[in-house]
Assembly symmetry: C2
């Protein structure tokens, strides 16, 4: 394994493969091994590209930790049939996660099919509830991730940690936890209280940054290039008892256009500088 | 006065002049008179274009109600001198509001000058506090407006109604209230509870809509063209005891490129259809 020039403790670091989106699953796995990044988070489209069996073989052979699989969910839909189809798809995602040895399956809430956001939110809770037995059987944890409120109408009716905590209260199952993603929650005046509230339920922590005055698809940037108090949030998440993986998950063309190896070096550098 | 073809009760309707941004202050006033819109909200740059005295003369002569003046605030800054300069500017805005007969001065919180959002938030509270005596003396109400969290890093560290309610608790002054702007708060799982909490403090209600899957500067649209439950929010605001003006405030090139008279007709139509 080629040694990176940065010496530090990368034992919790995980590459969410969307950060190096142009890489195939195999390239991402090899990139992590090269860079001494001990874990990876996978996306279902990237798994499908190579096929589930081959993907499982690649990650097992690599001995990388598979911290999560993205993404199931998208629960709200206009018809009962469509809602059932989404649940069925999430069940397949649970199977895939188990096959890949992924510890958690990330669930995206999805948007409302109409203006009735309360009903859509109820569909999310009901949807997750239906998945719990499957998740239990396959030993996969389900994770609720609040997205930034700017995605409330097109990606997720779950938009705050407070709301995620309420959902977990209602579900009351050790099979379901939440993820704190810095980009999605940094603005929240209630952030640190809600992280404390989430003690024992945090099963994922994503890092990235928020760059002001930028178009939304360019606003999610490398740690240190934005305004988020990343070390403060990481400390709060740790103090809430979380000691699991820290995933770098950045959707941004800028990094997709860089050679993957350089992205990994940059991410390690910034992790040490702004997060550890 | 030319009668519009839409017959309904427009007694609470107010045109925020940014909605017809290409119009001068005089054109906006005349447009309201033509359309039977009884009130207008002004912007300081539009007032400055024609001069304060002339602007005051135009609106007084029109007998339109001046529901608000935009905008003071932008409190957080890196140096004490800069913070003082912002306060001084807001004091001038209070003078201008009084001169124009505007009932309230809208305060924008402003972004943090660095990563320390808590300190910036404290500067906002301190800033408003310093303005209260001036506002009292000139009979102008100050209004805290939470902006959508996507503006947290470049326009306003105040991003939720819950936070605005907390700020009002701390200030504890009848001179300060809050505004509910549908576009900024619709996504909030705590929306209706916080509107109830705000009973007696709501001194402004802005209507517009949120269009999904759009670039942010195009996402603020005419009532009915987005996903917001406008009538439901209007009813909640009314039930919290608010009976004041309902301002149409839409920043969007699409409407700026339309003839102003058509924008006013459309806005009246949509007001009846989606808000009243």
């Amino acid at each position: 394994m080629q040694r990176s020039h940065i010496q530090s403790d990368f034992s919790r670091l995980s590459l969410n493969q969307v950060t190096t989106r142009r890489w195939s699953l195999r390239e991402a796995v090899e990139g992590c091994l090269q860079a001494g990044v001990p874990a990876i988070a996978l996306w279902r489209d990237k798994v499908a590209e190579v096929g589930l069996a081959e993907a499982a073989h690649i990650v097992r052979e690599s001995r990388l930790r598979v911290t999560s699989l993205h993404v199931g969910g998208d629960f709200p839909a206009a018809s009962e049939a469509e809602r059932r189809a989404r649940i069925d798809d999430s069940r397949r995602a649970i199977e895939e996660a188990a096959e890949l040895g992924a510890e958690v399956l990330s669930l995206r809430a999805g948007p409302a099919p109409d203006r009735d956001i309360d009903t859509a939110r109820a569909m999310v809770v009901k949807g997750i509830e239906q998945l719990i037995p499957d998740a239990q059987e396959r030993g996969v944890k389900l994770v609720v991730e609040p997205l930034h409120p700017m995605f409330a109408a097109d990606r997720s009716v779950v938009v705050t940690l407070s709301q995620a905590n309420d959902i977990l209260d209602r579900l009351d199952s050790p099979q379901v936890g939440l993820v704190v993603d810095a980009y999605h929650v940094w603005w929240d005046p209630d952030l640190y209280d809600q992280i404390e509230q989430a003690a024992g339920r945090i099963i994922g922590f994503h890092i990235d940054d928020w760059k002001p005055n930028t178009l939304p698809h360019m606003s999610r940037v490398m740690m240190g290039d934005g305004v988020i108090e990343l070390r403060r949030i990481r400390t709060a998440v740790d103090e809430a008892g979380y000691s699991g993986p820290i995933e770098v998950e950045i959707f941004n063309e800028t990094y997709w256009n860089m050679p993957g190896d350089e992205v990994l070096e940059l991410m390690k550098e910034r992790y040490v500088e702004h997060v550890l």
